[in-house]
């Protein structure tokens, strides 16, 4: 077991380590630092201690598997309602870079009933080889048969890295696959690269609502290294339909009778643009005052072809449905442009939108925390400013 050791004689009681601990595991006792059960052995305190009083003892694990047997970077090609999720293409773009550094192949993994079109697309976006399992049982995503197909392929062909989109489907699916294989899975990554020395995958992800970042590695006894990656973090790679790729097919070792779930119905949302896919989001907050006033937000959103977002306060007040909520207990979004109208910008709201490329805020209160993270801000009454914006965009866009 790992141990965090604090040398009592060296510790000066300077307290530098206390705020550095992301888990709140350090405190002062009789003038020296002490560690409690919350310690996660991340070593953040080791680096900040000015007198090197803290050491982390980690048990070295003997490598018992043949890591060399694991090759290639795989990307799960997710599709729903006949369309491939764009995050899958973004991952092929990023996967290409990882495969180039490792000197291996970039491969796609596709499941479904009839997936020929998806195979072509995966190849066009960079997959050199595509592993495919087709079966009527795989027509719609369900964890049971999809995980069965993936585990079957991964055990047989031994990829070194497998990437999934951190979507509803990807997060449901990857957790099952990783647990079945008993390997690591790093959620919601926003950065991936290869350690130049060890050639291991370094996975960087936000935690604590985006207040800290952590870089996570897999011990070499666990392969493949698997991550889910947030949509819209990596750019779409160029599409080239002249590319050729190899296709490897395996059958599904599961029958419909063995699947424990059945999809009865899909009820499509009423919004034309959904929050997660939106390039532009116009969001309303408490400043709107009532449900009716969301029409101000909707009108601007319509002109821009944007999705409508909302703060927690408006959802809790019943002004708009939960699907629209952005933030810690709602959805995490990453549009190109996020326009916050009448939203003060509590840290929980920021957790859901702070990585948007451009943030615009319109708020009466110049002290509103939202202005601390905005690209452009206007201090003013949203009921005056938002309609003016709408008219100006209409004019510029000729709509």
């Amino acid at each position: 077991m790992a141990k965090l050791l604090i040398d009592k004689d060296t510790c000066t009681g300077c307290e530098s380590c206390i705020p550095a601990c992301p888990f709140g595991a350090l405190s002062m006792k009789e003038g020296i630092a002490v560690v409690d059960e919350k310690c996660n052995f991340c070593g953040a305190c080791v680096d900040v201690c000015p007198v090197s009083a803290i050491t982390l003892e980690k048990e070295e694990k003997a490598v018992t598997i043949d890591t060399g047997a694991y090759k290639d970077v795989w990307v799960f090609i997710e599709h729903e309602h006949g369309k491939v999720a764009s995050v899958s293409f973004e991952l092929l773009g990023e996967g290409r870079k990882l495969a180039d550094v490792l000197g291996c192949k970039l491969c796609g993994m596709i499941f479904g009933e009839k997936v020929d079109d998806f195979i072509k697309e995966a190849v066009a976006y960079g997959a050199e080889r595509v592993y495919v399992t087709e079966s009527p049982v795989l027509k719609q995503y369900r964890a049971d048969p999809y995980a069965c197909a993936a585990v079957n392929l991964i055990r047989k062909y031994k990829p070194e890295i497998v990437l999934f989109g951190a979507t509803t489907q990807g997060r449901d699916f990857a957790g099952t696959v990783a647990t079945t294989l008993e390997v690591g899975l790093t959620a919601d990554c926003t950065g991936l690269d290869i350690d130049p020395e060890t050639k291991y995958l370094r996975q960087t992800r936000p935690a604590f609502g985006g207040n800290i970042m952590a870089t996570i590695l897999d011990y070499p006894n666990y392969r493949p290294q698997m991550s889910t990656v947030r949509p819209k973090v990596f750019p779409m790679p160029p599409r080239d339909d002249s590319r050729k790729g190899e296709v490897i097919r395996e059958s599904l070792p599961m029958k419909e009778e063995q699947v424990r779930t059945k999809v009865l119905e899909f009820i499509k949302g009423t919004e034309t643009v959904n929050l997660v896919d939106a390039e532009i989001i116009v969001s309303g907050g408490r400043g709107l005052g009532n449900a009716e006033n969301f029409k101000v937000i909707r009108e601007l959103a319509e002109v821009l072809g944007a999705a409508v977002g909302a703060s927690r306060a408006t959802v809790d007040a019943g002004w708009i449905s939960y699907e629209h909520q952005v933030g810690q207990t709602g959805r995490t979004v990453r549009p190109k442009i996020y326009i916050a109208c009448g939203i003060s910008g509590a840290i929980q709201h920021q957790a859901g939108m702070r990585t948007s490329d451009i943030i615009v805020a319109i708020n009466k209160d110049p002290e509103a925390p939202i202005f601390k993270i905005t690209t452009y801000g206007i201090v003013g009454d949203l009921f005056t400013v938002v309609p003016m914006l709408k008219e100006e965009f209409k004019k510029r866009l000729g709509r």
Partner: protein, 264 residues
């Protein structure tokens, strides 16, 4: 009907502030709370019990002080609570955590439905729910916004799942595991009597010796992943406040946004 709920104690990030000079988290005065999504999980278990009868068993894994979240669960009406706490469990990633919780649920025995929150607000992984289901060998229904029907006689459950672009109605066999989103219910507040009862309750601690676990699959030892480093994200400084008459400022903002080429 026997229901198990897994909950987690997390820092109340409302209070987490960043020291602008060192760019580190200031943790002083940060309260610990029940993970918000887990409150919906506990409430759904109580609602299910009220409708179909049965017992609600609430489990948490964490340091000794995590007992507080169990007291809250008792105060709102949980029948039995378990604190899974041992130095040997420390440093567990999602694989080891899911394993330990699954083993605890097996020990509770005869569970028809496991309920978890969609994700915890500190780690944000959403991996422990599917991990527990896989370890238990039961189906998982994640992102559930409504439990439509439970048919105990035929061992079936029908739920609505919240997806990116709509809702999916799914039927599953029981026992099953569901993870819930905020839309599913409104958690009740504890009664005064409930709070008094919870304060007096003796809560047992289950250690690695009490649960039939394989010691190679728990804690740091059973975790495939490790944190190489933690750091503060690049600070996103406040940008430009456009000042002046709105008749000038609004066209200026529109021009800046049009120049970004993101508007098509």
């Amino acid at each position: 009907m026997k229901i198990a709920v897994c909950i987690k104690q997390v820092p109340d990030t409302t209070d987490v502030k960043i020291n602008p000079e060192t760019n580190t988290l200031i943790r002083e005065g940060v309260q610990s709370i029940t993970n918000p999504f887990d409150e919906f999980a506990v409430e759904e278990a109580l609602l299910t019990k009220e409708k179909y009868g049965g017992e609600v068993h609430v489990i948490t894994m964490g340091p000794p002080q995590a007992i507080e979240v169990l007291k809250n669960a008792l105060a709102v009406g949980a029948d039995k609570v378990y604190l899974v706490s041992d130095r040997a469990f420390a440093g567990a990633d999602t694989l080891a955590t899911a394993y330990t919780l699954a083993k605890t649920i097996e020990m509770v025995g005869g569970v028809d439905l496991v309920i978890c929150g969609k994700q915890a607000i500190d780690g944000d992984t959403a991996q422990v729910g599917p991990g527990i289901a896989t370890r238990l060998g039961i189906p998982q229904l994640t992102y559930v916004s409504k439990v439509k029907e439970i048919d105990l006689a035929n061992k079936k459950i029908v739920v609505e799942r919240m997806l990116e672009d709509g809702r999916e109605v799914v039927q599953s066999t029981l026992p099953a595991l569901i993870t819930v989103v905020k839309d599913i219910n409104e958690p009740r507040l504890p009664s005064l009597l409930g709070i008094k009862k919870a304060a007096k309750a003796q809560i047992p601690t289950l250690t690695a010796k009490d649960i039939p676990v394989d010691e190679n699959r728990i804690g740091l030892k059973g975790s495939p992943t490790w944190v190489m480093k933690v750091f503060s994200p690049e600070a996103r400084g406040g940008g430009e406040i456009l000042k002046g008459e709105l008749t000038e400022v609004v066209p200026l903002l529109v021009k800046k946004l049009m120049d970004s080429k993101f508007i098509k």
